[in-house]
Subunit: 325 residues, 2 copies
Amino acid sequence: MAAGSEFDLIREFFTTPGGKGVALGVGDDCALLEIPAGMELAVSMDTLLEGVHFPDDTAAADVGVKALAVGLSDLAAMGAEPAWATLALTLPGIDDSWLRGFSEGFFSLARQYGVTLVGGDTTRGPLMTITLQVHGLVPKGQALRRDGARCGDLIYVTGSLGDAALALQILRGEISAGQPHATWLRRQLDRPVPRVMQGIALRRLASAAIDISDGLLADLRHLLRASSVGARLELDFVPLSEHYLACTGALDDRYRPALSGGDDYELCFTVPAQKKGELEQLFAQRNWPLSAIGSIEQVPGLRCFYPDGRHYHCDSEGFDHFASP
Amino acid sequence: MAAGSEFDLIREFFTTPGGKGVALGVGDDCALLEIPAGMELAVSMDTLLEGVHFPDDTAAADVGVKALAVGLSDLAAMGAEPAWATLALTLPGIDDSWLRGFSEGFFSLARQYGVTLVGGDTTRGPLMTITLQVHGLVPKGQALRRDGARCGDLIYVTGSLGDAALALQILRGEISAGQPHATWLRRQLDRPVPRVMQGIALRRLASAAIDISDGLLADLRHLLRASSVGARLELDFVPLSEHYLACTGALDDRYRPALSGGDDYELCFTVPAQKKGELEQLFAQRNWPLSAIGSIEQVPGLRCFYPDGRHYHCDSEGFDHFASP
């Protein structure tokens, strides 16, 4: 805008009508939120940096979608119902059309899940940086946690894995891909679908859950450590999309992007064996993609096996911002 | 640390034992918080950028204090009692001693106000960027808001104004200051004291409140607009510290840093005239500095007057990240 100011900016793109449970929204020193009796508040904060968490050429609307989707995926992993968000935007300058696109993408997903934007901050800095906090509600004591997996539980994942990681490899020119595969994979990178409904349904079925943001192996290891157990993984059961398969045929290690790529935002969770039937029926009824990929074992550590029984060497730890090179 | 990783970093500097109302803290996809019955949750998010919101040479411990103090000041302005914080840190790299200092500063203030760090994110980026969200509790319907000022109410501020703004001017070489003034002023810039106890005490006394982060005039104008009223301000009553006075004697406009400087983190609030006695007695009993600086009027706008009755031209709008130059 011509005489753009911080206050105009907030008003133009980020003012929303009050939502459910919002006693006071954007525009005071704090927002005031009402938490219904019997509910716990689940909160999660994530930062996305341009060029690190999304490619520089990502459409503004996709950045808006992704920023919120990443947070909603954390709520999903706890079985929490999304309620509110706060947004800190650091921008190199004011770009009206970018802000409009970001805002449209963000609010399209927010409306879908009933999320109200209740506050935040806008600042000017050299690199686009987006920190978003999501706030969700879950009945007391019913949240899915990482530490509940028990020996004998089955390990499941939603959706397919490695698609976003492949999109990044294509973007970097590390592998080539024809159409429509490249386009489909890129959409998985730009517009992850948080498994919110699945997370809520899993409250009474799963013993532990985590969302896959750093790669299946890395995130499953977090769950195993928190639960003080180990696991056996069957590589053949790891869900791979047809587009993934079309691009990885020639790779030496075709499993790698699906196991260690990250940015999947699928749920990985464990379920006691006696609830297997109920779980699989529920997901089938709702057409929610689901794969059983292994089982929890007593011995700590993660062991991966090829279909022929050979051991797969899996020591990658997933994405780490500060790991030594 | 030698083989520093994101997870090690979180563990080493930011893991805290569970606090009051924390069902689950750092280390899962979300933190789980318990809000007591009858309370509303007040949340506020602020971003601090190195070189913008604090000078590059600010000690790490002071950055840790300031990041939290800024948020606590927002809670104070609503009359909310601090409870939890989440912290997104973007850092150019790992600097053990900086992180230790930041963590010490942050937790020293957190302990003082019973704040538990329950989550956050750490990322690597070119400029140190700190986004902090504070979460506080306030009895339902008792929060101080900006929109409750009424004609005839008195306008008060806590503490003294303009000290941080002067420290910045000294740092930039715009004015000179001897010791111990320069040191004292710099401390006000680096370690603002959030008026948390004052805010809580004001719940039953103030009709409206705001914290002064962008300058008295700019923030008072927010309050006036939200309340659909105007105000008359007596410049002679604006509280100036002895150190401020020692440095501004030669300035053409000695009021300017106190009126438009920002970074004060004092409270500005309005009180119905019939509660004047009770308010002033309470603040005197507790040795809390307090100044009555004006009164609310029907006619919109803000009018400032010199002691001799002349009108002071005050059109500055305070600090704005995106204002046209």
